[in-house]
Symmetry: C2
Subunit: 464 residues, 2 copies
């Protein structure tokens, strides 16, 4: 009999955890996964996936509103809101079943319940019925994720002040909606509800929306969303939020001015915090820093058989980062030496319309390191963009001035989130402007803007 029940137990079934479990199984580790709610975690059940289903629904509706541009007409356009919400939930359900299937296929034991470490090899699992069972493991991977963070003085009441959980299943479209936070989550819901008829206001504390993105891209998105009818306040702070019978009243400070904003609902999307509590981490001696578990580039914690991945180890808190960490951790746990985790080349996406996507350094960050050359190309100068009537946005590329290495790519436009893949692999392979500019891009495609922007940086752009 083996010393422990499992070689690897993963705590948390999100995009970090279930990927770590699958990779562990591929490496012939006897593996179990413990999840207190649904496999797939926030991403699949309450994050990336159901919101993208909603957002695509908004895009389709938006296309219908623009039907005249296409010579198409109709009468009596109607939206069945319940169906919009249901479709999004159905997509999550189907993927949740898909992850369940992957667990079975890979012979991973799926344990339902809430986990707590008793010692560095033993986990107590409390089921929905309150009963506790114990499992032991040689290696344990903590992938418990994160949750929305309230702001001082602004508590979630889940009715008037809500998080993304409630925002994606509202029973009807609010007439007025305030997004507290102009990051991806706040802006995606702003785009979605504005398209379906809410009067939306976005309040962002920083000088720009999408504070982590390149300033030019953020400015372009602000311009576009404003033109769509969304009110955006930057450098603005919510001083107080008072819940009443029919809505919420916000006092917003912007510079010297205080503004009162009334809305039926406010989404608080101003950050998340790691799920580090009640896991027994302190008992077994896992180091926690600023609310997140501390790990090295193999996702090892301070306790040598304990690993941690995903949102619980801190930013960048993105599903694809969690999955990548899951693979690195699984390989480390199995003693299989793969590439370590690197954070130099992580794409970031915002699924508004226009979409925003980036990878690598912003122009500002790149300039801190040395001289750069910047190339830009607007979609409106591109045949494909005119053909599909999606003329907004541009590609901006930042190159090292001396060797022409691609340092950062910043895209805004209708398919930016798909286009960023080219720049990700380009950065991974340390491409130069010449390689990007001279690689033949299919005509007509939006991706030609990448080639042209690379040319522009060094004065060789053809179509501008």
């Amino acid at each position: 009999m083996a010393e422990h029940n499992y070689d690897v137990v993963v705590i948390g079934g999100g995009p970090g955890g279930y990927v770590a479990a699958i990779r562990s199984a591929q490496l012939e580790q006897k593996t179990a996964i413990i999840e207190r709610d649904k496999l797939g975690g926030i991403c699949l059940n309450w994050g990336c996936i159901p919101t993208k289903a909603l957002l695509k629904n908004a895009e389709i509706y938006h296309q219908f509103q623009r039907a005249k541009e296409w010579g198409i007409s109709y009468e009596n356009l109607k939206v069945d809101w319940a169906k919009v919400i249901k479709r999004s939930r159905d997509v999550s359900s189907r993927l949740n079943k898909g992850v369940e299937y992957l667990m079975k296929k890979n012979e991973i034991a799926s344990i339902s319940g809430t986990a707590r470490l008793l010692d560095r090899h033993t986990i107590a699992v409390t089921g929905a019925d309150g009963k506790e069972t114990r499992v032991t493991a040689t290696k344990i991977c903590i992938a418990t994720g994160a949750r929305p963070r309230p702001l001082p003085g602004i508590a979630y009441d889940k009715k008037r002040i809500i998080s993304y959980f409630e925002a994606m299943v509202l029973p009807e479209v609010p007439k007025t909606f305030v997004m507290i936070g102009g990051g991806p989550i706040g802006l995606e819901f702003a785009y979605f509800y504005n398209t379906f008829g809410s009067k939306v206001t976005v309040i962002e504390m920083m000088p720009q929306i999408l504070p982590l993105e390149d300033a030019e891209v953020a400015a372009e998105l602000k311009k576009s969303l404003t033109a769509q009818g969304i009110e955006i306040l930057t450098d603005a702070k919510v001083a107080s939020a008072e819940v009443g019978a029919n809505g919420v009243t916000l006092k917003v400070q912007q510079g010297d001015k205080t503004k009162t904003i009334e809305a039926e609902v406010a989404l608080l999307a101003a950050g998340v915090q790691g799920n580090v509590e009640n896991l027994g981490l302190e008992q077994v001696g896992v180091t926690i820093e600023r609310g997140f578990i501390k790990v090295d580039n193999r996702c090892r914690t301070s306790v040598d058989n304990l690993y941690a991945i995903g949102d619980v180890i801190g930013p960048p808190m993105l599903a694809h980062v969690a999955s990548a960490e899951g693979i690195v951790a699984a390989e480390a746990m199995a003693g299989h030496e793969g590439p370590p985790m690197s954070y130099d080349n992580i794409p970031s996406c915002t699924y508004t319309q226009p979409q925003v996507a980036s990878v690598g350094l912003t122009e500002a960050k790149a300039k801190e390191r040395g001289p750069v050359k910047v190339g830009r190309f607007p979609f409106r100068a591109l045949g494909k963009a005119l053909a599909i009537n999606e003329k907004e946005g541009f590609v901006k590329l930042v190159f090292d001035a001396k060797h022409g290495e691609l340092l950062g790519a910043h895209l805004i436009g209708s398919e930016a989130t798909e286009m960023i893949a080219e720049l990700g692999i380009a950065r991974a392979l340390e491409t130069t402007n010449l390689e990007l500019h001279r690689t033949i891009h299919a005509h007509p495609t939006l991706a030609e803007a990448v080639m042209e922007a690379a040319g522009d940086a060094f004065g060789e752009c053809i179509h501008q």
Copy 2:
């Protein structure tokens, strides 16, 4: 006074010619371009661009037909066909104006008329008024393109047997439509007219539609287009085509059987031929082989100051190839040593829905060179594909079995033509399966299928 009027004269203003002119101007050559019709050539005026405008219109209409899936309803859906056609023409006009602007901006003389070489430095230009003028140039670049090729016994009458010129401006949607040729042009019009209500039949001589594409992709597209209601006959040859008062009667041979097909209109899209006639090429001694001008990898013809690019030098006859050749030729003409022309890494796109895109070797071609590993990933297993309700198709990657170098990429799916850009740069940089698999791809995106297919080839796919 200089010996000649211009350093460089380009004959033909298509995507090869006008790009060659711009690059020449960038390299400080005194440049002129001669065009007998409209700047932008077939691609911009009668090819890539206006067809993509039409195809997007079909996609939008198709979305309307699927509105129920999105919880959206309407009554009395109508298409204003004249507007559909007009929008496509307007897009071409706008881009044509754009090229005119680029000529001015780059100080390129734009000469309207039909060119003929009198000697290796002198060109006679006949204007619309029949008057002839002469220009001389140190270097001349021939970029006269190609035109649709009739089949033996099947002549274009431009009413019942038409080419792509007529197909994109038909006054109404034919009830029945036959496409002779199952390449990209035939299939794109098949998708377009089928969506708008024609009963469409495609006749392809070869055993598969898209004969140059990977067999699995072609089979998947055939399945999908058939499910959409298009009848596709492969291994089928048009033996005769008889034009009557109300349509055309085709005798089609498929194996032992002969079939009679009646249709209002037949599109003959079975290839093109180079525009090599009446240019004076023979007089100046330019070598022509099998109907195309022969050039080396700097686009030099057999006459040392004459260059040729684009469709007139033969396959692959694609706008993006012509543009790339335009840059190579311009640099060679200016004595500026850039990278030579290479044909190893040319993307190919078909804009049906689902779209098809590829770069590099098919599995069959790759196997001729040595052992391969093939990875596949279906879109239906991807969160983004479910979220946007585009589940058809897959990514197929072919790697060299020994070193894992990417040899070919074959995509079919809703955004395949944009996704191929990643694989193009990946091939340009000689990527391996591990690099593709371990480069973090944004979640949720369709591009994750590339990462997963790379994993699948070597047994490390996570989501399958």
